[in-house]
Amino acid sequence: MGVGSMNIPSSMSGAATIQTQLLTTSWPGGSQHRVRWQWRCQVDGQGVEVFPLLARTWRESVIEKLSSYRSLPHNWNSYGSPPPSTLAIQKAIGFVSVLLDDSQPRPRVTPVSGGGIQFDWSFGKRELEIEFLPDGTIKYIFSPDWDSDGIEDTIDSVTISEVARLFEWLTTV
């Protein structure tokens, strides 16, 4: 993950530059890592660090959350489950980065027993689940309401048009 920047007008003299930077920090007492966003503000070339400077988008927080799954221990759910697989994490981050945008509703994101990662959305009674399985395949279920079996399928990859189709179904009354 890289460093991004944008220029904004400043109420002070000159212009301000805001940089976003993804940092890696250590858990207390451990060798495991997690990532967080740091916002740096520069005014007229004078560097000032500000935490937090801007509200983050939900995609950034979800990617951070998915990255943190690399640190989940075995037995994270207390029932002996392995953590989400590396492949599931990679595919889930790719899904958020490439196929979702912040105008779409934020998903609930949870690890699943056995090593998968689930995204789910509710809209009225309609529900959509997309799960990245440990082997990298993708399973989705969409259902008109909770009291009926949904339609489910397992696929190898998901496309922008497929996501658009699922969200259109989810949000069209």
Binding site: Y79, V109, T110, S113, G114, G116, Q118, D147
Partner: protein, 152 residues
């Protein structure tokens, strides 16, 4: 060596109204407010168990606090519950499976298993017609007040 599974035969000495307790990973996304029933429930992922039957504790032998405190890792889990009747309604079997004490864990006489009909024949639950349906009829009976508050 993992413990062998008990026979997959519904134990009818477990009454329909028996509550079955499950620990819920304390993440705000693991819990959802059900607008229709006006209560918090676990998200469907919480009850997904494909590779083995779902582990639960019987409420006639355990309290939600007991179930929470049996976790062998230092996390303060939420506790969700659903009834044996709900599990059976979706084709599952509820079977007693008490755990004996080991070198690292204490005995759990309340332990039971919910057997489902996953296609892999592991005794796990089917995602769509079992885990998902049961999750919608479950509710949170014990909160971990230190966990992130769920989005409403």
């Amino acid at each position: 060596m993992p413990k062998a599974l008990p026979p997959d035969v519904d134990d009818l000495t477990i009454p329909s109204g028996e509550l079955l307790y499950v620990r819920v990973f304390p993440d705000k996304d693991s819990v959802i407010f059900d607008q229709e029933l006006k209560r918090f429930r676990p998200t469907t992922s919480v009850l997904k168990s494909r590779d083995e039957p779902l582990s639960v504790d019987l409420s006639s032998i355990s309290t939600p606090q007991d179930t929470r405190d049996r976790a062998t890792i230092p996390k303060h889990f939420h506790i969700a519950a659903f009834t044996a009747a709900t599990a059976r309604k979706y084709g599952c079997r509820v079977v007693r499976d008490p755990d004996e004490a080991t070198a690292t864990t204490s005995a759990n006489p309340a332990h039971a298993l919910v057997f489902g009909n996953h296609e892999n024949r592991s005794g796990g639950l089917k995602d769509n017609s079992q885990s998902r349906r049961i999750a919608h009829e479950a509710w949170i009976v014990l909160w971990n007040q230190d966990a992130d508050w769920p989005l409403r």
